[in-house]
Every structure is written in C-alpha cells, then in structure tokens.
C-alpha cells in the first residue's frame, strides 16, 4: 500500500489516521479531488436546483399562508368561546371587583393622600411595577441611542441632511404662539396628577410634544444650547435616581415594617399625596426627555 505514489488507492482507515494526524498532503489531494467533483456537479445541477427551489418556495409560501389563516381563525374561535364563557361585561358582581379595588377606592385617599385613585395605585400601592415601567422607557431610549446615534466617522452624513432652520413663517409663528401653552398645560397635568386625571406619563408626553414642535419650527441650533446629549442624559439619570432613592426608601421602610416619615398632607391640596407629587414630576421629566430623544434620534441621529 504505497499511498504516496497513488493517493487514490489508500484504505479508509489510513486516510482517517492521516486526517487525525493532520498530514496535509493526503488531505489536500483528497479535498481537491472531492471539491472538483462537487463543483462540476454543482454547475450542472445549479439550474435545475434553482428551478426546484423556486417551485418549492412558491408552494411553501402558499402552505404558509393557508396555515397561518387557519391558525388565526382557530385561535380567534377558541378565544371567542372563552370570552363567551367569561363573566359579564360591566357587572358590579364580577370576580374582579373584589376587596382589592374596594380598598384602593375606599381607603386610598386616607392611606396615600391622593384623590386620583389610579395615581395612588400605580405610584404607591404598586409602585414597583411603575418603577419597572420607567426603567423600560429608559432602556428604550438607550437602545435607540445605541442604534441611531451617529459616531464621529459618519459626521459627513450629517452635513448632507442636516436640519437647517429655514422653516416656513406660518410654522414659526404658530409654534411661537402654541409652544408656551403646550408646555404650561403639560406642567399643569403633571403637578395636578394626584388630584385630577393626569400624571407624569400623560404630562410628560405633552411637554415632549411641545419640545418636538419647537425643534421642528426653529431647527436644532437654538434648542441645542439647552437640550443636548449631555444635558438630557444628566437630567434623565438624575430624575431616575431621585425616583430610585425615594421609592427605595419607601420599599425599605415598608419591607422592614418601619413607619415612613413622609407626610401625606391634606387630600386635595397641591402639596399632598406624600411621594406621589415628586415622583410624578420625575416621571414627567423622564418621559419628556425620552419623547424628545426619540424624535431627534430618528430625524437627526443625535440630540
């Protein structure tokens, strides 16, 4: 068995040992041979294979469509039957209207000091959820920054589609008129979050919309002196930290059964509701910064 003279005639085992030992000569000859065989066949078959693939693809696409329609219809059917079996809509005797919602409504005012019971629920009774929710927003804006924030290399890109401030006069005039009102309304909604409908999320969105309007009307040169990447990051982070520490304090005292020292105030006053007012303000600022951040990342790739 002289494989060196005729590499095609060696035994399987020998070839295996050679392969394991990494001796290249045999391997490469064998590989070359196999590869030429394969590419020859491949060229011949390529056309027919492509045809077949196309046909299979069109069939599988049809099957996929039929299957997904079928699954959806079955799914809707099952869920409709489930809904049919569920308790009646609008009935006060439903299982959901139990002692939990009763205590929120009847003792919410004295236990939290807030008249808006939904605010009391999300910022006091179930505040951990809301903390998670604020963190979700923060996460989203960081993700958008990772994806869309331009680095120094593609700053030339920025020059091409940069946001110049040559907007129409009507837009500028209207923005000058509307912007203060929008922001004022947003602040009102945030500050009255615990005594009337509203709160940090709603008010923050309104302020964010105002900032977007201002930026769209006057271009980014003007707004950049106040709202740039650094200031927005610092504001968001510090508001989140205030939220974090105040709620951390209340969770810590609650978990260890210590009386909290924060006064509840008279229900109905602006300065009432314990931690709810500062938390609403923090949430509002975070949401406003986030909304403005989304807008400017999507349009300009930077704040």
């Amino acid at each position: 068995m002289d494989y060196k003279s005729d590499p095609n005639k060696i035994g399987k085992w020998e070839r295996f040992f050679k392969w394991v030992n990494g001796e290249d000569s045999i391997d490469s000859v064998w590989e070359k041979e196999m590869r030429s065989k394969i590419t020859g066949k491949r060229k011949k078959r390529r056309k027919t294979i492509e045809d077949t693939i196309e046909r299979i693809n069109s069939y599988s696409k049809k099957i996929y469509i039929i299957l997904s329609v079928f699954i959806t219809v079955v799914y809707i059917g099952i869920l409709l039957y489930t809904v049919y079996e569920l308790p009646e809509h609008g009935n006060p005797l439903n299982p959901a209207n139990n002692e939990v919602s009763q205590r929120y409504i009847e003792h919410g005012v004295e236990e939290t000091g807030a008249l808006n019971i939904v605010s009391a629920m999300i910022l006091d009774y179930r505040a951990f959820d809301t903390f998670g929710e604020t963190v979700v927003l923060f996460t989203a804006v960081i993700c958008v920054a990772i994806l869309l924030r331009r680095t120094d290399e593609d700053k030339t890109d920025l020059e091409q589609d940069s946001f110049k401030s040559d907007r129409g006069d009507i837009l500028k005039f209207a923005a000058r008129l509307v912007f203060p009102i929008v922001v004022l309304y947003g602040i009102y909604v945030i500050i009255n979050g615990h005594i009337s409908p509203g709160g940090g999320f709603a008010g923050g969105t309104i302020i964010g919309a105002g900032l977007i309007l201002y930026s769209a009307a006057f271009g980014d040169e003007k707004i950049k002196s106040i709202l740039n990447y650094k200031s927005i990051t610092v504001t968001t982070v510090s508001c989140l930290l205030i939220y974090f520490f105040s709620k951390g304090y209340s969770f810590f005292t609650g978990g260890n059964h210590i009386e909290s020292v924060i006064p509840k105030g008279t229900p109905g006053n602006i300065l009432s509701g314990g931690l709810i007012l500062p938390l609403n303000i923090c949430v509002g600022i975070v949401v406003a910064c986030t909304m403005y951040g989304f807008y400017s990342y999507f349009t300009k790739g930077d704040i």
């Binding site: 049919y84 009646e88 809509h89 019971i117 939904v118 958008v144 869309l148």
Partner: protein, 132 residues
C-alpha cells in the same frame, strides 16, 4: 352567541382585533406593517382589560376632597393602572423596533423582510465562495 353580541361585545371585538394583529404579523412582508400588527395585538389586550374594568353606571376613579369614596360609585381602578403600564411598555418596544428598522433600511435599502433575507443570503454565499 347573543351574549357575545350584546353583553361581551367589547371583549369579543378585542379578541378579533388580536387575531387581526396576529395575522398581520404572520403575513405582512413589510417590516413596519409587521410591527403595526404586533401593536394592534397589544392594543387589543388593552381594550380587553379596560372594558373589564368598567362597571355599568359608575364614575372614573377620582375621589372628591372631604367626602368618603364608596366602592359602589367608582369603576375598578386596577385595570386602568395596568393598561397605563402596558401602554408605556408598548411605546418603548415600538420605538426600539422602528429604530431597528431604520438601521436595517440604511444598510439594505429595503423594508421587505424577504428581500433583506435574500440580499443577506447572497452576500453570505459570496464570502463563502471566495473563502474556499
């Protein structure tokens, strides 16, 4: 059947909307439409939740100062709170997915899922050939 149409009609509508969103997600090729489908799904769940929080003839849960609030006067506040949380989550996810799509569009110049997949595959096949 009659109960579905007359009493639980909000919930039935929510379930059907959920199905529409689901089908949109499965069948749309355009990525933005796919994500709109997912959004419809989420919104359907919020409709479901809010409609179960409602109690016939009761008010929104804002108490009056100096007056004892009674559970018989107000709707259930819990679903409203849950929906608030859900909406914020859905906004975040939507923003994130739109940013991803914008990034993908800048790289491949198309919004079609199949087209991107095809371009990616052919690109990969090229590197493979030059490799071996």
């Amino acid at each position: 059947m009659i109960k579905l149409l007359t009493i639980n009609h909000f919930e039935a509508a929510a379930v059907i909307l959920f199905g529409i969103g689901f089908m949109n997600m499965l069948l749309q090729d355009n990525l933005i439409k796919k994500f709109i489908g997912l959004n419809i799904m989420d919104t359907a769940i919020y409709l479901y939740l809010v409609s179960y929080g409602y109690i016939e003839g009761h008010m929104a849960p804002i108490a009056e100062a100096g007056k004892a609030a009674l559970a018989e006067e107000f709707i259930n506040p819990v679903p409203s709170g849950l929906v608030l949380t859900g909406i914020v989550v859905s906004v975040s996810v939507t923003a994130f997915s739109l940013a991803l799509i914008q990034r993908l569009y800048k790289k491949y110049g198309t919004l079609s899922f199949d087209e991107v997949l095809r371009k990616l595959r052919s690109g990969e096949a090229n590197t493979y050939d030059s490799d071996s």
